[in-house]
Amino acid sequence: MRLAADNLGCSRGGRTVFTGLSFSLSGGEAMIVTGRNGAGKSSLLRMIAGLVHIAAGQIELTGGDAEASTAEQAHYLGHHDALKPSLSVGENLGFWAQYLGGDAATVEPALEAVGLAPLSGLPAAYLSAGQRRRLSIARLIAVKRPLWLLDEPTSALDAPSQVRLAELMRVHLAGGGIIVAATHGPIGLEAPRQLRIGPGPA
């Protein structure tokens, strides 16, 4: 498994955000993307996820499922949690598990992994920001996909949840997965690769 980006360029609303970005990651590797606000960290993740048009260059994921696109082999954890307030915690995760090609049996262990199992029947409207984040992370556990694209994954998480997320990421990497995370602070991984977009220290 290998994720390679070659000479990527990004332009949003007619403005060039970054150009000439290249990197390559193999299975079991994590990369932290840093840069100032507006440097294009989120745009880079969304480009890999197929959600933003690639203005120049190319992204390739090799060694995975040859039939599926990069987006279909990736999980994207964005700023929004992709939850419906009127559905219960279990229903929210159950839907994503089914839609993304997992099965219903994975829902319970995934909720267990993020510590939300006791709240399974509660409508998501009553969750706190951190609990919503954890439910969103449970999606990555319920459906196995090799590439994780995490945009500020630790935002709103308390210290024990951050430790738990770091543990989940380590398990994912140990299983040959790839993680690309945009963040301003440490996310609890040992010696991840670094990619800095734009000039100067953060």
């Binding site: 996820a49 279909e72 700023h79 929004h80 839609y99 999606r139």
Partner: protein
């Protein structure tokens, strides 16, 4: 297939829960039709003659009512991103949402239309025909509206733009829907041709609507 059914089921469940739009269309339809006799006066013959047209117009407006939120809510809470990364082609996912929308807003309109016909002095046999034309025509309204919903996804107050964009496109459906209903009730034109064209409009929009809506959503990414 599993993903398709999961998406339809989720959207129907959301529509049925608090804050969903399932019954709003039917209630709006009810109010529009009930207001008509008050505006037109108690002329039973007049009401019976224009009854099918009023029912069709009411159904048209009611079916557009909840449509503007079809993609907007998924866009706002990030669900649309994840939907696009699923195993379904976007065209199919979009069609699944439209099917769920039709089942929760279009179908109730058809079910209550015979009751509303009573308000307009439309006789029972004629009501069956109007309901039949609505059954054939409302999928076209939903699937044409789908394109407008996809185009206005990122706009605040997208509902107004949606109505302006979509209503002109629904004119053929309205013409042939009312023509088929009138043909069956008062004649002398045959029922077959307008009804067949109505079915053709529904089938064509069933194919073209999701393709156009998916293209609009993809374009919205850039």
């Amino acid at each position: 297939m599993n993903a398709l059914l999961a998406l339809i089921k989720r959207d129907m469940r959301l529509a049925m829960r608090v804050g969903g739009g399932a019954m709003m269309g039917a209630l709006f339809f009810l109010i529009v039709v009930v207001m008509m006799p008050f505006a037109l006066g108690p002329d039973l013959n007049l009401l019976a003659r224009i009854g099918p047209a009023i029912l069709w117009l009411g159904a048209l407006l009611a079916s557009l009512l909840a449509l503007d939120r079809l993609f907007a809510t998924d866009h706002e809470d990030g669900s649309l991103d994840v939907l696009m990364m699923g195993p379904l082609p976007l065209e199919v996912a979009v069609a699944a949402k439209a099917i769920a929308h039709w089942l929760t807003t279009g179908l109730p309109l058809i079910v209550i239309s015979p009751v509303l016909g009573l308000m307009l002095n439309v006789e029972l046999r004629a009501m069956g025909v109007v309901a039949l034309t609505l059954l054939a025509g409302t999928p076209a309204l939903t699937f044409i509206g789908l394109v407008g919903a996809a185009l206005s996804v990122a706009l605040r107050r997208g509902g107004l733009l949606l109505a302006v964009l979509v209503l002109p496109l629904t004119i053929p459906v309205l013409i042939f829907g009312v023509a088929a209903a009138n043909a069956a009730i008062v004649g002398p034109a045959p029922f077959g041709p307008p009804f067949t064209i109505l079915c053709a409009l529904s089938l064509a929009s069933l194919v073209l609507g999701p393709v156009a809506a998916a293209a609009a959503l993809r374009h919205g990414l850039e």
